[in-house]
Symmetry: C2
Subunit: 354 residues, 2 copies
Amino acid sequence: MPIGTIQWRDARLYILDQTLLPLERRVIPLDTADDVFEAIQSLRVRGAPAIGVTAAYGVVVGLRAAQPKDTADALVVVDNTAIYLGASRPTAVNLFWALARMQRVAHRLDATTPLPILMETLEAEAKTIHAEDLELCRAIGEHGAGLIPEGAGVLTHCNAGGLATSGYGTALAMMFWAHEQGRKFQVYADETRPLLQGARLTAWELQAVGIPVTVICDNMAAHLMRQGRVQLVVVGADRITANGDVANKIGTYGLAVLAQAHDIPFYVAAPYSTFDPALCSGDDIIIEERAATEITEGFGIRTVPEGVSVYNPAFDVTPAELVSGIITERGLLRAPYGPAIAALLAATATETQA
Amino acid sequence: MPIGTIQWRDARLYILDQTLLPLERRVIPLDTADDVFEAIQSLRVRGAPAIGVTAAYGVVVGLRAAQPKDTADALVVVDNTAIYLGASRPTAVNLFWALARMQRVAHRLDATTPLPILMETLEAEAKTIHAEDLELCRAIGEHGAGLIPEGAGVLTHCNAGGLATSGYGTALAMMFWAHEQGRKFQVYADETRPLLQGARLTAWELQAVGIPVTVICDNMAAHLMRQGRVQLVVVGADRITANGDVANKIGTYGLAVLAQAHDIPFYVAAPYSTFDPALCSGDDIIIEERAATEITEGFGIRTVPEGVSVYNPAFDVTPAELVSGIITERGLLRAPYGPAIAALLAATATETQA
């Protein structure tokens, strides 16, 4: 999938500006920490894993732009850049995970390390996070593909594809994998108001590889389910807490309730970097509220009368009991999620230390 | 509520063009049956009761424009106009109800009746339907207002207000009535994709009278319910079958499922003209599918990639078992709906004949 969501070329960071898709495919450079902050905050790059990768490179970008005079100075810049970029969006935990990882790697060195070594080490770590994310996505796809029944209608929400990751995606990865095996199925993509990531991004990615996709408005999902046209719902995640509660794009929770009411399995696909063992449950997740204008004048025309209140939460929380399974790079997690998630993270930690 | 949804002035039909709201308040004349057909089909006038009233006047407009040479000719024109206008939209039964009523009144006369008498009779009948609809709405409001708990959050979908009727509305009528009594509550209006009747019309109507209203995207309703911010869901209807199944704007069924899952009462408000005793259940209702461009280019710019399929049903069916009650001009109907609906329609028929 050469989508080029995030690119590191000649020691410079580029992203595909997703706010312009599908009308225009424009790649833009991010040359300062401010550029990276703005790109994440305004959703030029979005999707929990892609935000994590971009932020990791963002530490390198910020460090280089700051032109530190020595390594001690550079370590301060790394921490400050991490704090700064961590304020760009509150919900996706991959952001904090990637920034903490970059800080950890930096602080394994000390002030006596030559500055070029620190720079190289951080660049290498960001590239590792980037490459690792693609591998995680491929593994998620392989583990999830078998969940798609032959001839099924698969409903997804928002975009959990190559554009939300280094490439290949999380929820879409299983579709790409199944499609590569020659399997037949049909995808329904919720357009996903207010910013239409499903209509603009998911439809674009699936169409590009020839997977049949039909865009619907979010409020049509229940009608499709009642008609028997949906056999599976799969979504990505922005944060999964220790008990298996899932924060994801607003509308996910409603879909999970509807899926249960229609006896349709509801799966979440995510790599280990999306789990947040520090939070006991979804009640502890900060839900980002975004600007009213995303709803009132999202596409250039005002659609809500001036002066009317708007509520615009970007995410919701789906309780673990509505989740049929969580597809990870190490396989499918089933309830009870507490021990399954702990085991996943323990295995990851062991491998990383080895 | 001097909204002026439908106006009959100096023997000429005018409507408020709802496709332009809230940005522009433009009243347009409808001088031919083609004008009326186009206005209904393109949703310049919409909402089941308003469509019925407009179609009734449309018969008068069509008859006058045809300049029949005698009464026998005029009766043929009436029937042909009714058939023609009946093809403008398939789901709202008020359309067929109003056209059949106009035909019935015309055919009570015969070819020996002077032509001016036929014309006057039909004009009077259309005005009666118009005035009656406003009375029905006021009565629905009075019967429904008590269902709104003090301080409640009330969720509604699409627009079932003055703009969907002769004035005052169906689902919104109870809000207007409660507000007139000085009651305090908060309305959440689903924006209602694809054509945003909730954002454009419902918010506009509620704001105009000072009822606090917050617009949300359709996919946010479940999140609000889970937060405990919704105590009541109320919607209008386009057709209610003999068993109490309800066709209404796409997204209504999903809301009903979500309301049940959160133990929130789900009410439907409609006058007797929205009931269709000829259909046993919602399975028999024809669901209109509308143009893909309503979804792909609804905001003036293309939001779905070229060549991607789109599914755009304008309505869905909510089964009677999800409906807590149906608010009518004669009071609240409760399950079992079959006998309750039969009794409502019998009482109406008796009164009409009296």
